[in-house]
């Protein structure tokens, strides 16, 4: 994972959860473009994209390995108006992220922390290992700084000896505890690889949460 910090003189501003399209152009005119979630909050000084390098990728390996400070990048956005959260939407705000799916959720949590923090926020972040947890100290810091913030990890492959959180894949019991009673009508955002999102969103519906209160963003091919 690499974070790109961008200087955008004419940026119109964005809402937490939105993404941008990045377009690369080779000298012979060949182009490739992909979408990346915005990791920074609307109030942050600079726009930040946090990019996961995909093994067979075309754009992400360039962004992670070739792009250098001072280079120019063509991007378009902000894009997407549904997978967004702003303070007026209320809560409780429940965020469920798998892998790099945490990126737009970090923007939301950061926006929450920068605001009046009037509603509870709870983040569940599933990662293969603690080393792969991005924004770790910042995210865990919210939980220690604010009574209304709750940040939990689920580590699926390996974990430190003194780790006391959830191990293995997420499950319905973990989601039930995270989301709380459905009568509280939490506003739930789920982002990650499709299999992760499909499972989490399906369980949340089975737990009684209204599909209209669950917003999803999915990435990655399924091969099916």
């Amino acid at each position: 994972m690499t974070s790109l910090v961008l200087d955008l003189p004419d940026w119109p501003g964005h809402r937490a959860g939105q993404h941008v399209d990045v377009r690369l152009t080779a000298e012979d005119g060949y182009q490739a473009q992909r979408s990346y979630s915005i990791a920074s909050a609307p109030d942050d000084q600079r726009l930040v994209l946090t990019v996961e390098r995909l093994q067979d990728g075309e754009v992400s390996p360039y962004l992670v390995e070739v792009l250098r400070a001072g280079d120019e990048l063509e991007l378009r956005g902000p894009i997407g108006g549904f997978f967004v959260w702003e303070e007026s939407f209320g809560g409780p705000l429940v965020l469920v992220g798998g892998g790099s799916g945490v990126v737009p959720l970090r923007s939301m949590l950061r926006q929450w922390a920068a605001g009046s923090r009037a509603v509870p926020v709870r983040l569940l972040y599933s990662s293969r290992s603690v080393e792969e947890v991005i924004y770790r100290s910042e995210l865990l810091g919210y939980a220690s700084d604010y009574d209304l913030a709750d940040v939990r990890l689920a580590l699926t492959r390996e974990w430190p000896e003194d780790y006391t959180g959830h191990t293995g894949r997420i499950d319905p019991a973990l989601l039930a505890d995270l989301a709380g009673p459905s009568e509280e009508r939490p506003l739930i955002y789920v982002c990650g690889p499709n299999g992760f999102v499909e499972a989490a969103a399906g369980w949340l519906v089975e737990l009684g949460h209204g599909p209209e209160r669950i917003r999803t963003e999915r990435f990655g091919p399924t091969g099916t």
């Binding site: 997978f83 399906g202 099916t224």
Partner: protein, 201 residues
């Protein structure tokens, strides 16, 4: 003019037939899933398909009746606004021409609506004349819920968000009324060959 990206050459995969790839798209061999909410699972005995809105009478079909309608088996290229295209996808379903066959209307537009609340708007011209289907099989199998099963709209000549998953009906309208993504900044028509991704394209 796009700026040259220093050091970018691309990982150009051989595209079987480059003329079939719209601008800004790449060829995908898998079948990615995109959806704004949880996947609905409507039992087939509760499923129906309805044509309503600006029509004299509103036909509807149960699942069994729908399967008994004359079916077609289009093989088409599909194009997602998130940049992937997939060639030669094989479907089975009912042509929208068949569904609209007995319908008397002055409408020029329609809104396709789905389980889960999704909607998308289309000019009638874009779904008639052999250009659109309500598909219930993909690649010889019942359409998987993640891909819109039991049935989805299939309008392959437009970006794939127009091919509403979990479609349950078409509401014919006199005026063009933006649907779900069309209200969130995506292009009203979505022609991939004109790269109509977002409002203003």
């Amino acid at each position: 003019m796009s700026p040259i990206s220093r050091g970018f050459t691309g990982r150009r995969r051989p595209v079987a037939d480059p003329a079939r790839l719209p601008p800004g798209q790449y060829e995908e061999r898998g079948f990615p899933v995109l959806a704004a909410g949880p996947t609905p699972h409507t039992p087939l005995e509760q499923w129906s398909f309805r044509i309503d809105g600006a029509v004299r009478s509103a036909p509807s079909w149960t699942w069994e009746e729908f399967l008994a309608l004359p079916a077609e088996t289009p093989t088409v290229d599909i194009h997602c606004v998130t940049k992937w295209s997939k060639f030669d996808t094989r479907w089975r379903g009912v042509s929208v021409d068949t569904l609209l066959g007995g319908v008397v209307t002055e409408a020029e537009y329609l809104t396709a609506w789905s389980d889960g609340g999704y909607t998308t708007n289309l000019p009638l011209d874009d779904v008639t004349g052999g250009k659109a289907w309500v598909a219930y099989e993909y690649d010889g199998e019942p359409l998987h819920p993640e891909h819109g099963g039991p049935a989805r709209l299939l309008v392959p000549h437009l970006y794939f968000w127009k091919s509403a998953k979990w479609v349950r009906g078409l509401t014919l309208t006199l005026d063009d009324e933006p649907g779900f993504w069309e209200n969130y900044g995506y292009h009203n028509r979505g022609d991939p060959w004109l790269e109509q991704r977002y409002q203003g394209d």
